[in-house]
Each structure stands twice: as structure tokens, then as C-alpha cells.
């Protein structure tokens, strides 16, 4: 698997763009996109940290990074699209469980709040940015509608959103139609596969291996 800690291979070795995953608490992972810039090969992390909290920041050492199985030239386009999406959505993107396809406006790169567009998670944000650069990481319709633990997770997310003052209507919309859950480790598993797009079974298997590596490092972040 092409999964590295920054101690094994520093972030500066990414081939223009990569997927990054970290533990942020017991049973909770976080996902983002690492991308290079022209500024001395500087590497930034673009991630949806929470409701309307889209960030561009320096990646912390706790992240593992996954080198996706795409040409560096295509990874370059992912990096550009990621910067565009960050720039176009400076007020953030709502947190939610919308499917990660066609969720950025074709012409402005802004997040679309269409009939089914409620918001994204950190993991579907990564899928959506790659897809907007023409790179499909996952075969979406192979994901199971519901897995053990999903319901509890949805409840805990909804409670946290309400606690943070997110409007009840938004949270209610999330509860009504959570859909399939693309977990951070699943999406990391897609990027670790030998080719993309990846079906659920393989992505999940690789994702669990990545999770084991993360747990072995045992360095959860204080916050996302």
C-alpha cells in the first residue's frame, strides 16, 4: 500500500496531491487533501473540518498520507481544483450526508445546495474534489446503505451540530436521509488501491489496514 507517515516520507514527497487521514478521537477519523503549491514546494491540507468550516492549513505530523494511483499530471489538476474549491467557498460548505457527485457548480466551483444537496462530510468532500477534476476514487453504488454503527454515528453528529448552534431544519434534513456512509478510512482505502475507481469491498479492506496503521501510531489530534 502506498500509505506513509510523514516520518517515513515527508509530505513534500507527494506527487502534487494526496489523500491524508488522521485520528481525531476514539472511533473518529478525519480526511483531507494534501496539495502542493508553487511556493517552494509548500504542501497544504484542504479539508472540511466541520459545518461551514472549510480550511486550508499546514498538515500536522499525525496524518498518514496516501499516494493515489493516478498520474502526477492528473494529481496536479486535483491540486488546482482543490484550491479553486477552497477559494470559491470561503464561507465554508455545510456539513451533511449528500452523495459526493456533481456537488460543485460547473462554472463557479461553489457548493451546490440543490434538492438533494444538504452538505458534505470530510470524506465526501475529498471524493467530490477528486471527481470535479475528472478522477473518480469510488464506485459509489457499491457502498452499503447502512452498516453497524452508522446510525449511532449519525445521531452523534446531529447532536454535535445542534449543540454548535446549527439550525434545527438543517439537522432534521440530515436525519431524514443519511444515505450511504463513505467513511474516511473507506475513501483512504480507495486512494490506496492499485487503480481507481474502487469498489466498496476492496476500499473497506484497505481502509481497515490503514486504520490499523493509524492506531499503531496512536497519536490522535486534540481537534480536527
Amino acid at each position: 500500500m502506498r500509505v506513509y507517515s510523514p516520518q517515513e516520507r515527508p509530505f513534500t514527497e507527494i506527487r502534487n496531491a494526496a489523500v491524508a487521514i488522521a485520528l481525531i478521537g476514539t472511533g473518529q477519523q478525519h480526511l483531507g487533501i494534501l496539495f502542493k503549491t508553487d511556493l517552494g514546494g509548500e504542501v497544504k491540507l484542504g479539508d472540511l473540518a466541520w459545518h461551514h468550516d472549510l480550511r486550508e492549513r499546514n498538515p500536522k505530523e499525525h496524518y498518514l498520507w496516501i499516494d493515489p494511483p493516478i498520474s502526477p499530471i492528473r494529481a496536479l489538476q486535483v491540486a488546482v481544483r482543490c484550491r479553486q474549491v477552497l477559494k470559491a467557498n470561503q464561507t465554508g460548505i455545510p456539513y451533511g450526508f449528500s452523495p459526493p457527485n456533481d456537488c460543485f457548480d460547473q462554472e463557479t466551483a461553489r457548493f451546490l445546495l440543490g434538492t438533494s444537496g444538504v452538505g458534505l462530510t470530510c470524506a465526501t468532500f475529498v471524493l467530490a474534489v477528486f471527481q470535479s477534476a475528472g478522477v473518480k476514487l469510488a464506485i459509489l453504488n457499491t457502498w452499503p446503505e447502512k452498516r453497524a454503527g452508522d446510525e449511532k454515528w449519525v445521531d452523534s453528529i446531529c447532536e454535535s451540530l445542534l449543540k454548535d448552534g446549527v439550525p434545527a431544519e438543517h439537522v432534521e434534513a440530515l436525519r431524514k436521509n443519511p444515505g450511504a456512509r463513505y467513511r474516511p478510512e473507506d475513501v483512504a482505502g480507495c486512494a490506496a488501491a492499485d487503480k481507481v475507481p474502487s469498489a466498496f469491498e476492496l476500499a473497506n479492506t484497505l481502509g481497515l489496514q490503514i486504520l490499523q496503521k493509524l492506531l499503531a501510531l496512536n497519536k490522535p489530534l486534540e481537534s480536527s
Binding site: 499530471i73 492528473r74 488546482v80 481544483r81 460547473q106 475528472g134 478522477v135 473518480k136 487503480k195
Partner: protein, 230 residues
Amino acid sequence: MNEPLMLSARANRPFTLKDLWRDTARDTTTPDERPLNRQVLVSAGRQQQAGKEDYLIVLSWLCACIPSGEEEAGEDAENNLRILLREFRTIKRHYRPSSNWWLIEWPDANWQSADLMVVPARFPREETRSVAFFEPIIRLDRQGRIHSALDLLYDRIDHYLREARFSDVDSLLAHTDIASLSTSVIVGLLTATLPAKSKLPSRANLFKAAEALIRKRGEWEDNLLTGLEP
């Protein structure tokens, strides 16, 4: 007037003679950094650009609305650029079709910069538009700043898609000499235009030409263009 001339206007600083490029495809260096205003321009025209009266008419008109060196752009920078483009369009309307030159513009997204060109009529219009579009992108790429080059490419394409100027973008795709572009920029062009592919009939030919050219260059990799198909 013999060659196309370009004024590269940036919203965040006054314009200087350095912003003028003569024959943009080859020579991008002009040592003079004096602030660009009507007086400096006419003086430069007399000394260096003798015989380019048409060009002086256009740019003198434009310079009447450009902030001089003393008038820093500041908070009005974006507005200055809008005024400049409005005047540019007025000139276009006023002189067409009797003039022996024509004007093209490539304003960027967010109104931070624009490339304006005065082109003799004998130059092929669409091909020259393409040159004007890609000139700063190629320059950045050759300077080793591929991320900045692609940021600019995506911004420009998005600007035109946002204004629903699909025929302009399609014309660009049809008339671009992709041999002058690096493989990264060619793939960038296909990626930036991907969302609007159904409205860009020339993109299919560009895709075929791109694949053939990249193979010829020996830069082909499996799945290089997967997901970008017409």
C-alpha cells in the same frame, strides 16, 4: 502597426510601460517601469513605436482612465479595472468594422487582472485570441510555476463559463495550437472544460489531438486522460 500589442493590467498596482508587450509570443521584456499614462505612452510611441498611430489612439484613450503613478489603485483597484474594460469595449464598438485593427480582452475571474490586445487586422483573429489567452499561462509554466499557470488557466476558463460564453471557449478550443503547450497545461485545459463538455463541441477534437500529441511526445501513461473523455 505591425505586431499585436498587449497591455497586461493588474488591479493592485498602477500600470507601467513594462506592462506593454510587443509581439507577445516572443518578447516579454520591456525595461521601462515608468507609470503608464497618456504622456508617457505618447512619448514612448514617438521614441520606440514610431508609425504605430493606431495603437496610440487606442491606448491613449485607455490611458485617460488608467490611474497614473501618483494615483495608487488601492481600494478602487477592482473598479479601475472595470472602467478600463468598459472603455476598451467602447473603443471596440466605436471603431468596428472600419478600422485596420481589432481588440481582444481576457479579463480574469474576480476582476484582478486583464490582458488587452491591439491586433492588426491582417492577423488571424481566433488564433491571436488563443495566443493572448495562453501567453501568460505559458510564461508561468516556463518559469517553473506550473501551479500558478494552471490556477490562471482554470480562472480564465471559469470566468467565461460563468458568463455563459461557451462559444468563446469553444472557439478557443478549436483554434489553440496545443503543440505550444506543455502536457500539464493540455490536460489542464481538458479538465477545466470538463464540466461544460456538452456545450463545447470542439472539445472532442481537442481530446483526440491531445492524446495523439502526448503519445507522440512519449509522455503517455495509462489512464492519463481517463475521466476527461468527450
